[in-house]
């Protein structure tokens, strides 16, 4: 095949996949695909099990830690004020780290550099609780991650992964979550896959978990070797997914089946 034909083919292929993108006005949060009772579980803090994690996060926020014997509250005071809007713009470019990091990684950067303590393990109860507590302060705010020169490479890598076929089942995220969203897979409605409520209380897990855990589930389901929690690949995909969900309101802590 000549280079010209190849280039034309790739352009067409990309255009075709781009045209399968869900129009902004037609985007739906997974919340809308759930039954009435599950939605009620998310809406009411008194019956949302994730409240247990948020409260633990609130306690951790005030606890002194590390060699610096410093609590989050010592620098950031009242999270309801200082953390408002933060989760809605993560993953974000961290100037000191010179790369895009997600909220969990940002919390750990503080733990290591400011509190002088060991980072919290990914998916540990403590990191989930703190992340849930911080993200909770952005509930109801529109998702707005940075799409600029310094986040471009990360965003493009995330989009490329979303469009790339993976695993033994040879499926790309886009095939289920763009092209076949609202159709059913095994009795369950396929969601569009916007990360509007993370960390979520997932009924399948009977506990709170991160977006990276959820993405690992997906990759295992298509029989692909999943990336590690906190991996560069998942941060790239996370940035793309949050960009794809731009303008949608954050629901943390969400409840999902």
């Amino acid at each position: 095949m000549s280079i010209r034909v190849l280039r034309l083919f790739l352009l067409l292929a990309f255009a075709c996949s781009a045209s399968a993108e869900i129009p902004l006005a037609e985007r739906r949060s997974g919340y809308q695909d759930m039954g009435r009772e599950t939605r009620a579980m998310q809406d009411d803090d008194a019956i949302n099990p994730a409240t247990l994690w948020v409260l633990d996060g609130e306690a951790l926020w005030a606890r002194r830690a590390g060699a610096a014997a410093r609590a989050c509250a010592d620098c950031h005071q009242d999270a309801r004020v200082s953390m408002k809007g933060v989760a809605a713009r993560y993953p974000a470019f961290d100037a000191a780290a010179r790369k895009v990091v997600n909220l969990e990684q940002r919390i750990n950067l503080c733990r290591v550099e400011r509190q002088q303590d060991k980072p919290l393990a990914y998916e540990s109860h403590e990191l989930l609780a703190l992340t849930a507590y911080v993200a909770r302060q952005s509930r109801g705010l529109p998702i707005q991650v940075e799409s600029s020169e310094r986040t471009r490479a990360t965003l493009e890598a995330g989009r490329a992964m979303f469009l790339r076929r993976e695993g033994q089942l040879n499926l790309a995220c886009a095939q289920c979550h763009d092209e076949r969203a609202a159709h059913r897979l095994g009795g369950t409605v396929i969601p569009q896959g916007h990360p509007t409520g993370y960390p979520i209380y997932r009924l399948e897990w009977q506990g709170v978990g991160s977006l990276h855990r959820r993405m690992r589930n997906c990759m295992v389901a298509i029989r692909a070797e999943p990336y590690a929690l906190g991996s560069r690949e998942y941060v790239e995909l996370e940035l793309y997914l949050m960009w794809r969900a731009r303008g949608m309101l954050l629901e943390t802590p969400g409840v999902r089946p």
Binding site: M34, G35, R36, E37, T38, A40, M41, E123, L185, G186, G187, T188, I190, L203, E204, W205, Q206, R213, R216, N217, C218, V220, A221, P226, L229, P257
Partner: protein, 156 residues
Amino acid sequence: MTTRRQFLVLAGGTIAAGAAQAQLPPNIEALRKAALADAVRKSTGGAEVRRGRVKLDVPPLIDNGNSVALVVEVESPMTAADHVKAIHVFTEKNPQPYIITARFGPRAGRARITTRARIADSGLIIAIAEMSDRSFWSDSVSVVVTLSACLEDGLI
């Protein structure tokens, strides 16, 4: 040649040793039906259970069997003379039939319990109310349980 009786005895022996095996016994449905009947009998003392006065609220189509919203309410004046003593909730397809037993007195005000259950498979959920006059009333709902399309298989 194995007689039918010999075969049934052998099968029974295999089932008895089944606790050590991961496979379910072949007559699992019969065993679970018997366990449910036994649990109901234990809770009612063998008394007659009539349909009515109890309202069991469960979504007929369930998002995930791991967490099923369940509300039971019983009409009753809830006075010292006439009140609901207990609400027993059972299900027919779980490994064991009991879900919850809630005990009330006249100080409750309302005979109503809200909780979330695990329902393993599509089937009946049964709520039985025990009254202060020792009568028993019930309601039941047939639910459809769908599983998550993408199972985790124990991987975090």
